[in-house]
């Protein structure tokens, strides 16, 4: 549990403070130094426009992790509200809401996100919209399941009969039951969002150049695969490390949750 916290803190620090350690402006073009290999001056080399890759990676963390955080948070909010509405709203509402959820689930997330982001026109706004609108369904299912099981629990029914306000019931009975499970789902979706952002960036539908998002950097690097292969190693490693670390956090959280409930 402690190592999980340390990791989480490291990532927040990377996204917030990373750019402060960047030696150069990530968008500063420097043609004479284009496609240079690693050196004392440019620790990871430069790209096709002579921009420092280390600086771009560090600034890229803010785009990739920051946007993934935003997207997974939007998904969490929509999904929880939808799920609870389904659980609380009676049979008909539940049916309509859950079939809507199934309909959204009928499209593979990334395929749907590519179509939506592509049609809205490439850019950060459409990227966030496309990935949020395709990622709330899991939260909704979890929230609905917990909501339904709580509704029939004796202590919740008693609290309602005793005249506890709906807000207080939500605060004292629903939130504590929902939070742990939703956090576990959230870590998984956070990791998926990082992968989604980089995939859309790589396909050209995501964060647009010259902004240093990791997937967009890989798209640039791909053209120079033969001449400077190292250029494409770093952004991919950054994505993989972040996703791996977040997945490990999720696993540890889930294990501690299972331990607590059993």
């Amino acid at each position: 549990m402690r190592s999980v916290l340390v990791l989480a803190v490291c990532f927040i620090a990377l996204a917030v403070f990373g750019p402060m350690f960047a030696p150069y402006d990530p968008t500063a073009i420097n043609i004479p130094n284009r496609l240079s290999g690693p050196s004392a001056e440019f620790p990871l080399g430069t790209d096709a426009l002579g921009r420092d890759i280390l600086s771009r990676l560090l600034y890229g963390a803010r785009w990739s992790l920051g946007l993934a955080f935003l997207i997974s948070l939007i998904g969490l909010c929509i999904g929880t509200l939808v799920g609870l509405a389904a659980a609380q709203g009676g049979k008909l509402v539940d049916w309509i809401v859950m079939r809507t959820t199934d309909t959204f689930l009928a499209f593979p997330e990334l395929v749907a996100a590519v179509v939506i982001a592509g049609l809205l026109g490439a850019g950060t706004g459409s990227l966030v919209f496309a990935l949020s609108i395709t990622s709330w369904m899991r939260y909704a299912r979890v929230a609905r399941g917990i909501g339904l099981s709580l509704k029939s629990r004796g202590y919740v029914v008693q609290a309602q009969l005793a005249g506890m306000s709906p807000l207080a019931v939500a605060r004292w009975h629903f939130v504590p039951a929902l939070v742990p499970s939703l956090i576990v789902v959230w870590t998984g979706m956070f990791a998926r969002a990082i992968l989604g952002i980089s995939a859309l960036g790589f396909l050209g539908f995501g964060v647009q150049p010259p902004m240093p998002e990791w997937g967009t950097m890989l798209l640039d690097a791909r053209i120079h695969l033969r001449s400077t292969p190292l250029q494409m190693i770093w952004p991919g490693m950054a994505v993989a490390t972040c996703v791996l670390a977040i997945n490990l956090c999720g696993d540890a959280l889930r294990d501690s949750l299972v331990e607590r409930t059993s």
Partner: protein, 312 residues
């Protein structure tokens, strides 16, 4: 049982209808002027407003939402996906051609994934906690975290650029399928290994197994008749997830390897704002997805009659 299956089929058809409507609404209300994009894709130059208006009328974009919807859904019900707005050709033959590239790729990828994941997961589960087990879990966790398109680039770098053993771009010869299929397959293997392993471990932990063993039933029988069915449920679940993974993977993998399959078809259709083509791909994907998940739901009920007793 029949009633439950009918219920599932009804539910699936509601979802497919919803998906069709959602697809149309999304495309119809997308910002930007599709007629302009289509005209530019057709003539590959800057076009005058007259030409754009002409294209708009020709493609039917000047009609209202409902009449356009009716014009689309009517032929669709008899399996007619309409004509491309850019080339004017029928959508289906071109799409079928693309599918011809995608299906072998997806199946080869799945086969590679299974060939790696099943033995690895079985070995890992048999020796739980051993070095091999930890190695398998570690590799699988890493594999899940690696973006598919990066893995593809790494494979191109190693096998096509550095070693020069395999071709990377296009689909001219049978050997062209190896690298893209390997990219997909390694991704599939990573997620399958973890799930098959935990499915096996859970099945092994069942309380009735020691009872069978004490009664002298041999280990092969116990594995086949009692462990395997229990482990099958999570594996069946995973097939649904794997399908999504393959469909998503195919899009990026085909773009990287320049394979003229369905993913490539979709991406170029989006850029050209070719609505009939985009609609056809999205709808076909959703249909495939819903049908497979329907089969999985039915399969669950066959494997474990307890499932579905509460909801129908």
């Amino acid at each position: 049982m029949m009633l439950a299956v009918l219920g599932l089929i009804l539910r699936a058809s509601v979802v497919v209808t919803g998906a069709a409507v959602l697809t149309f609404v999304l495309l119809w209300f997308a910002p930007g002027d599709p007629a302009m994009a289509i005209a530019q894709a057709r003539f590959a130059t800057v076009v005058s407003a007259d030409v754009v208006d002409q294209v708009r009328a020709e493609v039917g974009l000047d009609a209202g939402f409902w009449s356009a919807f009716k014009d689309w859904i009517g032929p669709l019900l008899v399996g007619d996906f309409g004509n491309s707005s850019v080339t004017g050709r029928e959508v289906w033959p071109d799409m079928a051609n693309a599918i011809g590239y995608t299906v072998p790729l997806a199946l080869t990828g799945l086969a590679i994934g299974l060939a790696i994941a099943v033995p690895l997961a079985v070995l890992a589960a048999r020796n739980q906690g051993s070095v091999l087990d930890r190695f398998a879990v570690g590799i699988a966790s890493l594999g899940v975290a690696i973006p598919q398109f990066w893995l593809g680039l790494l494979l191109i770098l190693l096998f096509a650029v550095q070693l020069g053993w395999l071709p990377a771009m296009g689909a001219r010869s049978p050997t062209h399928i190896i690298l893209p299929a390997l990219t997909l397959g390694l991704g599939v293997a990573a997620s399958l290994t973890r799930i098959i392993r935990s499915g096996l471990l859970e099945a092994r932990g069942q309380g009735f197994l020691p009872a069978f063993r004490r009664r002298g039933i041999n280990e092969a029988h116990v594995s086949r008749d009692h462990v395997a069915p229990h482990a099958a449920i999570p594996v069946v679940t995973v097939f649904g997830l794997e399908l999504a993974f393959l469909l998503e993977g195919v899009v990026v993998v085909e773009v990287i390897f320049g394979r003229p399959g369905l993913g490539d078809f979709l991406v170029s259709a989006i850029f050209a704002r070719d609505f009939p083509q985009v609609q056809a791909v999205v709808l076909l994907t959703a249909l495939l997805f819903v049908v497979i998940n329907l089969l999985i739901d039915i399969f669950y009920r066959v494997l474990d009659p307890r499932i579905g007793e509460h909801d129908a």
